[in-house]
Every structure is written in C-alpha cells, then in structure tokens.
Symmetry: C5
C-alpha cells in the first residue's frame, strides 16, 4: 500500500535502540540508548560535529515515523527502511541522501541483513535490524582512537566509510563462494556417488541470491560516484570512485563462479556416465567370457545316445583346455580394447 | 485493420457498466451503473473533484466509441483498449495519458486480465473486462474511509495508486513461481519417477508468459517516471520512481527463477541417469556373481564318461565350497567398488 | 556488382503488370495493366489525388530502369527492388522514401515474398513478384468502398496502411509457430518414438528464418516512426508508433517460442532416457529373478555320484518351493524399489 | 615492437610487384611491374586521373617503408599492412584513409587473405600477399571496358568498389557454411555412426574463424559510412550505406548458422542415444524370451530320483508347448510396448 | 580499510629496490639501487630528461608512502599499488596518470603479476613485485641502444611503450590457450578414456582467469586512447589507438577459445556415449547369439524318459548343424545393422 510504512521482516516486536557517536577532530562523545528527541537536539545543537546515529530494530513503525518528522524524511524513504526485502536503492533529495543495501554474512546460507543509510549535512543515520554488526565494529574503534581520516572529515566521508566496510565484506562472500565451488568440484570429480544434483542446485541458488544483491549495488555505486549532489565533497568523490571499482571486482568474481557452477551439472553428468560405462564394462566382460563357455558345457550335458565325444578318454580335459584358450583369447581382446 | 475498433478477447457479449467515484478532501460520492453522458456531465460539472470512472465490459464497441468522442480519445487508444491481447503500452497525448498493462492472478495458470487507464486533468478512466477486481477493492475502501494520501491528492496520484496496486500484486506472482519451482525441484530430486519433463516445460511456459507481461511493463514504468508531462506533479513523480523500483525487483526475481527452472531439465536428466546407474548395478552384480557359478555347475553336468571328479566322495561339497568362496570374493570386490 | 540492377529471385521471365488505383475523397479510379508512361502521366496530371501503383513481376530489369528514370529513383534503390534476397531496409531520400520488407505466408514452410514500397508526394509504388496478394486485397476493397480513413488521407497514410497489413499478418505466422511448437511438444512427451530430432531441427530453422525477417523489420519500423521526413504528417506518425508496437509484440512472441523450441531437444533427450530406463528395468528384473534360479537347477543337474539330496524323496518339491520363495522375495524387492 | 614494421605472415621472401591502372573518363592506361618512384611520379604528374596501385608481396619491408615515405603514410599504418594477422581496421588521417580487411576464399578451410587499402586524393593503393585475386579481376575488366560508374567517378568510388567486391564475396562464404551445415545435419540424422563429434567441432571452428573477420568488418563499415572525411563525396556515401547493409546481412546469416551448428552436438547426442536404445531393446527382447525358457529346461535337467513328470509319457511335448506359449506371450507383450 | 596502504600479496618481506634510467636524445644514464630521495632529486634536477623509475618489491609500505609524499601521489593510488589483487584500473589526476594492469606469464598456470605505472611530466614510475621482467628487458635495451622512437620522445611515449610490451605479451597467452585447447580436443576425440572432465574444467578456469584480467584492460585502454589529459601528445594518441586495437584482438581470440572450450564437455559426453554404445553392442551380440543356443542344448539335457530325438542316430549332429545355422543368421543380421 503506497505511502504506508509497514515492517516486512520476520522478526517479532523488538525495542528500538538509538546510539549516537558525535565527533570532530578534537571531540568525541558516545551516547547509548537515547531518545529520538534527544538525538535530534544533539544534531541541532552541535552543527559543526559529525553525528553517526545508529538506529537498531525496525519493527516499531511509530518511532520510524517520528524520525521521519524530525529529520523531514520523505515517507517513501521510511517505507523502504521498514521494508527489509527492499532491493538496494539510492535516492537523492535536496537536503539528504538515502541509500539502502544488503550486509551479507558468509555463514552456511549467506544471511542477508537489510541496511539503510541517510546522509545529512552533519549526520549519518544508519538503520538495521539487529546489533551484531561486527562488520562495522572496527569503524567505531577507528573513530574513537582517531585512526584514519574519519575524524578529520565531514559526514560524507563517514557515509563513504560505512558503505565501503559493507562492500569490502562482499569480498569474503565471494571467497566463500569460491571455496564452496571448489569443494563441490572436487567431490564431483573424485566421488560422484557422494555428490548430488541437489548440492549443485543449492550452490546455484546461493550465487543467484548473492548476485541479486550485488548487481543492483553495482548500479547504485555507479550513480553514487557520478552524483553531483552538494553533500559530496570532491575529495570524497575520489573515494566513491574507488568504491565503484571494488564493487565491480566483486561482481566480476561472482560472475566467474557463476559460469563455473553452471558448468558443474554437465561435469556431474559426465562423471555419472563414466561410472555407468565402468559398470557396463564389468558386466560385458563377465558375460562375454562365460556365455560361450556355458554354451559349450551345455552341449556336453545333452543326453543324446549317440555322442561319440562323450566316450573319448581325454575328451573332458580337451574341452576344459579349449574353454581355457577361449577365455584367454577373450581377455586378450578386451585388454587390446583397453577395457581394463 | 488500422483505425477500426474491434474487441479481441474471448468473452461473449456482455453489458458495459460504468461506476464513478468522485471525491475531493471533503466530499465523496459513488454512482453505480450510470450512462456515459451522465458520467461526462459529472466530470465537467465538478472540475475540482477527482473522478475515478470504472468501465467494465469491453465487448460493446459502440459504447467505447462514444467514450472516445466525449473525452476526445484518439481512435488508436480505443483500439488498444478493445484489443485485450495488446501488450503493455504507454502513450502521452497533450490532454491525457494512456496506459495499458496486465493484471495477473496467481491461480493455477496465472490468468492475465487486460487493464487500461486514461489519466485526464480531473479524472481517471479504468477499463477492464470483468468486475472481480479484488486487487483494487482496498483502494476503493481507502478512498471512502479517507485513509492515506488519495483524498488529498489529484488525479495523477490516483493513477499512480491504481498502477501501484496492480504491480504490487506481481510480487504474489513471483512468490507463486518461487513456490512452484521449489516443489518441482524437490520432486525431481526425491522422486524423479513421479516428475516428468512435461511439468518442467509447463513451468517454463508460465514463467515466459509472466515475463512477457512484466518485461514491457518495466520499460513503460521507466518512461512513466521520466515523463515530463504536465499532468504529473513533482510530488507524484517521486512515487512513480518508487514504482519503477518495484517493477525492477519483480523483474529480477522472475529472472532468477527463470535461471533455476532452465536448469531443472539438466537436473532431471542427471536424476534419471542416476536411477539407470542403480538399475545397471543390480543387473551387473547379479549377473557377475551367478554367471561363473552357473558355468561351474554346467561343467559337472556334462556327460563325459571319463570325469574322475564325479566319482570323488566329497567332490560335490568341495564344488559347493568353491562356489561359495567365489561369490564371497565377488561381493567383496563390489563392496570395494562402492557398488552397494 | 555495384550500380547494376540484377534480378536475383528464382522465377523465370514473366511479364510485368502495372495497376494503378487513383483516389481522393470524392473520386476513385482503377486502371489495370497500363504502361509505365501512362502511369507517370496519370500521377503528374492528377497531383491532388493519391495513386497506388502496383508493380508486379520483377524479372524485367529494363522496365524497372524506366520507372527509375521517370520517378527519379536512385539506382541503388532499383537494385534492392530487383534483389529479392535483400534484407528489410528503409532509406530516406529528399523526394521519396524507400522501404522493403518480407511478406510471410504461413503455409508449411513459411514462404517469404519480397515486397518493396516507394512513397512519393502523391503516390505509393509497391513492387512484388506475383499477384496472389490476398494479404492486401482487403485494402483495395476498403479504398473502393470508402471504408476507414484511407480515402480522406494522403499517400503517407496509404503507405502506413500497406505496411500495417503486412506486419499484422506476422501475427498469423507467430500463431502458426505457436501451434507447431505445441504439437511437437505433445508428440515428444506422449510418443518420443514417433518424434525425431529432425523435426525439432526443422522447427528451429523455421523460427530462425522468420526471425531473420522480423528482427530487422523491428529496427526499420523504429526508424520509420522516429523519422522527421516531411512526407509524414504528424497524424500518420501516431499510426507509425502503433505499428512499432505491433512489430515489438510479434518479435517478443517469436522470442518466446525460440526459447521453448531450443529447450525441446533436452526434453526429447530426457524422454529417450526415460524409455531406456524402462527397457533396462525389464531386462534387469527378468535377469535378476531367473539367473539365481537357473543356477540352482544347474546345481542339481550335476552328475556327482555322491549327492545325497538327489535321493531324498521330496527334494524336488522342496527345491521348487525354495525357488518360488526366492522369486517372490525378489519381486517384493523390486516392488519396494518402485521398479514396476 | 611499436613503430617497427615487421612482416608477420608465413610466406618466404618474394618479389614485390607494383601494377598501376590510371584512368579518367576518356583515358585508360595500365602499367605492369614498375618501380615505386615511377608510380609516385605517375600519381603526381596526372593529378586529374584516378590511379589504382596494386602492391603485391608484403615480405619486403624496405619497399613498404619507401612507399610510406613517398606517400607520407604513418608508420603504424605500414606496420598494420605488413602484419598479415592484423584484425580488420579503419583509420582516418588528414590526407588519406586506411582500411584493412580479410578476403576469404570458400575452399575447404576458408582461407583468409590479408588485404589493405589506402585511399588518397587521386589514388587507391591496395596491398596483398599474392596475385590470385580472382575476386577483383572483374573490377579491372569493368574499368578497362568502361562499364558501370567507375570510369566517371573519383578515387573514393574505386575505394568503395574494391571493398564492395570483397564483402560481396562473403555471401559465398555464408552459402558455403550453409551447405556444410546442411550436409552435416543430414549425416547426423541419417547415419550418426558415420558422423563424429570431430566434424561438428571443425565446423564450429570454421564459423568462429569467419565470424572473427566479419564481426569487426561490420563495425568498420559502420564507421566508414558515417565518416565525415572530406575524401568521401555525398554520392559515394549512399553506396557506403548500401555496403553496410550487405555486411549486416552476411553477419546475420552467419549468426543463424552459428545457432544451428551449436545445436548439432545435442542432435548428435540424441541420435546416439536412440541407437543405444535400439541395441538395448534387442538385448532385452532376446534375454527376456530365452531366460525363462532356459530355466524351465534346466528344471527338467535336474537329477532328482523322484521327479514324477520325467516319467509321464507326453511330458516332453507338454513342456515344449508351455515354452512356446510363454515365448508367444512375451512377444505379444513387447509388440504392445512398441519395442519392435 | 579505506585510506590505509596494506600489502596484499603473498610474498614475504623483501627489500625494495629502485633503479632509474634517465635519458634524452643525447644522454643516457642508468642508476641502480638508489634511494627514494636521490631518485626524486634526479627527477627535479633534470627536468628535460625522461626518467624511468623501476620500483621493485611492494612489501615495504613505508617506502611506498615516502614515494607518495615526494611525488604527491594520492593515498588511494598507493593503496592500489600495494594491493596486488587490484583489478586493472586507470585513473587521471591533474599532475599525473595512474594505470595498473596484469603481466601474465604463459607457464603451466598463467601466472599473473601485478604491475602499476605512474606517468608524470618527465617521469614514469613502474611498480612490480619482483625483477624477472623479461617481458620488458628488450625495452631497456632499445633505450640504451637508441633504437626506435623512445629516445626522441617524451615520457608519455615511454608510458605507451611499457603498456604495449605488456599487452603484446597477451598474444602469447592467447596462443598458449589455443594450443592447450587443441591438445585437449585431440585427446577427447582420440582417447576419451585418458581425458577427464577435470582437464576441461581446469582449462575453463584458466580462460576465465585470463579473461578476468584482459576484459577490464580492454575498457581501460579504451578510456586511455580517448583521454584528453594534457600529458598525452596527439602523436602518442595514435599509438594508444593502436594499442586499443591490440587488446580488442586479444579479447576476441580469448572469446573464441572460450566458446570452443565451453563446447568440449558436450564433446566429451558424446565420446563417452559412443564408447558405451560400443560396449553395449559387444554384450548384445554375444548374448543374442549364445542365449538361444544355450536354450537348445538345455532342451536336450532334460531327463524326460520319452524324448524320441535323443535316440535318433544323427540327432546330435543335426542339432549342432541347426545351432550353427542360427548363429550364422544372427551374425548376418548384425552385419546388416552395421553393428560390427
């Protein structure tokens, strides 16, 4: 329903928590679990500081609406923040910039977390569902310990730094895909019996799922680094161009693994066929050697009254000899055909 | 035949019914089953209200023509309204805007309904074949109960809201495709005997059919949100941009399921091959064990007069023992080859 | 050879026939089988009428050259008219417009007819190889009976109407392809023995052949409706935009059948594999049941002097019973494996 | 090594031969085997004539360098002339235009010849490795016999005419590919035993090799006909647009055969599978009929002392009868299954 | 971490070595293993000479930072130099140009070396991990021996010459791929038993890995030759356009081998199927001939008391004769079916 903010994720009602880190070159202050009004006051009172507002827990729609009123955020943006299934998106407004992308964790199933960012004149608000943001922890530490450029830069650099941290983590995802692909490949080649088409299909789906987040992110970062919005300083734009390069590389890597995994089903098929060939050969060799011998012994098992050979003294041994020669010849024939 | 309005759908002659909902912030009025002339008068008499004219039943070409004359609609537009096989289309005229797209219902076969919209200064005319528009019911309720922005907005927002409702329903379609794909995948992996290439082919066709409607809709919504037509306020354009984002996401989802379903035939083939491998193994194991044994018993079934072994007292038991050892050795051999 | 007009088709020398239909809102005149000079005089003498000149039979190069001189047509255009293998083409000159496309008849093999059009100020010349133009017959009737817009419009509308008639016929082709595809699909699924890879290949070729004509036509119609040539009135341009929509739709339909037909070979392969699986199962079941039984009867066919069982009174019946139990157990085993 | 002219082809040192054809509307003169200095003098002395300089044999780098100095050709152009593996290329300089493409001869292996052209104010220099230019012979004759437009046109028309002759020959290549494809297709369908995956692979390679020359030529001709270089008259540009149309058509044809040939491997696979199916059926029918019969005769070959049936007078005939009925029933069963 | 220079390669800490070659048309000087400060002084003191600074060993981040300060290089560029996994990149700054690409060595596994270049007014700095730059050795020799254009040209030509040397080496890579592809193809066709799906997969990966470097290099060289940076003279731009042509050709070649290698798995599958067919035929022929014969001998091995044939004098010979005829007929049947 247009113009109506609805939480779409699958979490139960949780408390919203707002943390604010305020800093400039000299000062640093971290306020934990404060109210939206306090947050807004802080941003207004310290216009020369950069404020990173971490908003955790998206289930409480009223809180979101309050944020929207105070910071004059467009209702559609609030909708996209609450809609955790929203695809990556970038939108420019006169006073602020909105970006949403996916944090991906390289566990067994590539868990995707919805992550949204609003960049204003002197603040960045980041929205996420839960707090386990180990991907961004090091950023907090760098701000606190004054490492790197962040403390000397404006809010646009903070915005860049957060986005960069998320996208750099995509490299881990691409490496996890690489590893899974290689393991499956090895399994198919060495023990096709233990591999199954299901595993290939699961890996395919995972790659498609990751690509679904990464591909639109690529477009978005492209628009970001070409943006002419006044919030981005020319200094930061260099960094955004660098970011675009990173997402391009991740995208290419995933593209390569896509090609390889799409070829695995064929590889699996040929491994199965090879196995079947081997089974067929065993059957054929055994049958081909014993079928004529069984026929011969059948002949001398007939009960005709007049079968002179039966009376010859060494006939039995001669027949055994002939059968031995036949089987040796057949074995030589199969050897020549490289059947074993 | 150019310039000639012809109904193309497969319904028999039905009555046309025109309903009009007229509203502004304060007033709301719903008129059911009124004539075209009354409708036109209403639109002219209340220029400050927004009129949503619902035109149901496309078989009566004369009525359409009358609408065309009163609202000065181009004959080609009337043609496209009556042509229920028309692909999604967007066309701008100086006085009005024309849009046609497909409503898709996620039943067994993804039924598509032709739906056309004309946006004028203070009215929206929607054309459809039958009345079961549960997709749009909630919109009527929101207008009546003054929920959301519609009552405070112009006709362009109503136009957006209708289009948005139809496109949001595409998410259901994409989810239905997801579900069908997963069911079929499970079936192929767990019981390939009960799956058939036909089911894969049917799903393929359904995806192609949905994509046939969604892909041109994507282009159209793109042109819509980039349109510079004076009927669209800048406020509404934000919403149209959002709409474009939705159709992009639906399109990507369908693209992903397309890739997965296109891979199912290969998966089915490898499942079949696996089954055949299993059958072959059973045959080979049985044959390979019993063929040499049958040969041995054949040997001692021969009727040669001079076969000394036949006279040995325990020969029979020795032979039985030898055959037992042979079969045990062969079973060990197959175990080693991981054949069972 | 550049600048040399050569007939390239596979018809023998035929007489050229020129028919002219001249009309304006009031007057209508049809002249059959007249000379080129008369035709030219007619066009010059009645500048306010629209003249549709139907030129049938392309083998006589001299006649073509005469037309070229009188109507000052570029030699390259004459070349393209005589070259019946020319791909669809659109070319603008200051005084006239040249268009060539393919009429396709949906018979068994999708016969393509070369069709060329020259649009001048007050005339349209259409060139074709033979007269069986049932696709265009209805146009002649509409002009004669004053139906539709043609009689009230200029030559550009006639030009549009002819092109539209040809392209609308592509819908029949796309439906014929649909029908053939579905028939073949059914055959492969229900009776793969009666289908053959050849039929799939033939259908593939037909689709490629149709697409070869339709795809460049799409580009051409795009250029046509974007053309700024003074011969096209703004009124006609709306119709040309509509035409573009039609060719887009045909192209999409063919694209869909292409995807389906390209998947048929895989479907055929899996149908064959299914059949083979069934054959293998019959063989395996029969062999697996009888091979051990045959071994058992072989055992008691041995001629050892000391085989106590042979003397037991009911041994024969016990052995028969044991064999019966073995075969029942094997049948249960196969039932459990869902082999029949 | 940049800026260094090196012959790259696989011919041994050969003499360079320069022939010059000089003409205008009235005069015609052909000089065979003259020196570079004479050639240059001729071009300078007759500025109003068109000179077609045929330079044959690219192994002598010094001669090339001399040409470069006299006609002030850029060293990179000379490099590309000597590099017979150079891909098709088009380059504009203020005083001249450089074009290199591939002549392809439709023999067994599609021999490609490197061909380079320099178009100056009143001359065209063509470079090639050897003289067997039957593709261009007819052009020489047309110039000599004053046929066509060449004698009345400038050097740019000669440049066009040569390029056109080479590209028109691509139609022969595309027809040769068509023929080879159809032959291979027939072979695979009628006698898959005599076809081999190798033949398909060879045809694939040939198509890829031709496409490698044709695809970049397409781009080049596009740039050529859009060129605004002052050497091209507007009259000639019409012809260059026509040329672009030809190369587009060739490219489309090759694209179609590419699609067909890429599908042949699948067709071959299904032909093989069909054959295997047939083999399997023969084996299964024979085995299934005789295996139970062999079991029955085994039963009555057992040596139990108490087997009453053995003593019955007509038992033998009854058993023969039963076996006959069993085999008839099995044959009926297979007939019903359409196995033969 | 943005803005932090980190060595990413897999080499242990190594000493950085800086060599400088300074030259103009008359002078040439090579300084080995000098400090960064000396290098910088040299560049400043001789503004009219071109300085090629070879910086080997990227592990020492502090040295890199020092270079950055002296030559005022942007920190992101330093990051990309130290990041040996950086994808090919091109970046323009007001005072200098940055380029990084991959040197590829055609050994067994296509070793890729990270290579970065900075082009300044009168210097080129090249960064690489180790010294074994045989690809560039010949360039040093040409500078020393005054061969070619380098000594008479500015730093931009040196920059071009280095890039050209690296890209020309890609031709060797493309030839190595060609050779490997052909060897594998031959193996699959002549001895599918000795080929394995693994080899195809390995070759696929190698091609994907090379393409991963070559494809972005293509884009980069395109931007390079279209660049309007004041550091590039118009003379050098001609050469850069030539370079673009080279990388296009390499890219096309790799594309062709990609298509061929992607088809090898199908070829392998059909080779395996052919083999299996052959195995099946041997089994079927043997079984089909001996199964009926074994049945016949079984019949006359039955112990019925009343089997008149057993008593006939030549019955045994007749039966042998009948069996011989049956086997001859079956052999003729298989011959007719072309089974051997």
């Amino acid at each position: 329903m247009p113009g109506q903010i609805t939480y779409v994720g699958d979490r139960s009602q949780e408390n919203t928590e707002i943390d604010v880190v305020s800093y400039d070159t000299e000062n640093y202050n971290r306020s934990k679990n404060i109210s939206i009004d306090e947050t807004f006051k802080m941003v207004k009172d310290h216009p020369d500081q950069v404020h990173w507002i971490t908003y955790t827990g998206l289930t409480d729609v009223d809180q979101l609406q309050k944020i929207g009123q105070l910071f004059s955020v467009h209702p559609l943006v609030l909708e996209d923040i609450a809609n955790t299934k929203q695809r990556p998106r970038y939108d420019e407004f006169s006073e602020y910039i909105f970006l949403t992308l996916k944090m991906i964790y390289a566990s067994d199933k590539f868990i995707k977390e919805h992550y949204a960012l609003i960049l204003g004149e002197n603040f960045v608000i980041s929205f996420q569902e839960n707090k386990e943001d180990d991907i961004l922890d090091f950023l907090h530490k760098r701000i606190e310990t004054k490492k790197g450029r962040i403390r000397n830069s404006d809010s646009d650099y903070l915005f860049y730094a957060i986005t960069d941290a998320i996208i750099d983590n995509y490299y881990n995802i691409s490496e996890a895909i690489e590893q899974k692909t290689e393991q499956l490949e090895d399994k198919i080649l060495s023990a096709p019996d233990h591999a199954s088409p299901e595993e290939i299909q699961v890996l395919k789906r995972q790659i498609l799922s990751v690509r679904k987040s990464v591909a639109p992110t690529k477009e978005i970062i492209n628009r970001l680094h070409l943006s002419k919005h006044q919030l981005f300083s020319s200094k930061t734009k260099r960094f955004l161009a660098d970011l675009y390069d990173h997402i391009l590389q991740v995208n290419e890597n995933i593209g390569i693994y896509r090609e390889i995994v799409w070829g695995l089903m064929d590889m699996y098929m040929s491994s199965i066929s090879n196995k079947m060939n081997e089974v067929m050969k065993v059957l054929t060799i055994m049958s081909t050697i014993f079928i004529p011998l069984t026929f011969i012994v059948g002949v001398y098992g007939m009960n005709f009254q007049n079968m002179p050979e039966l009376g010859y003294h060494n006939a039995y041994y001669y027949v055994l000899g002939v059968m031995f020669i036949i089987s040796v010849l057949l074995i030589i024939y199969f050897k020549k055909k490289n059947w074993f």
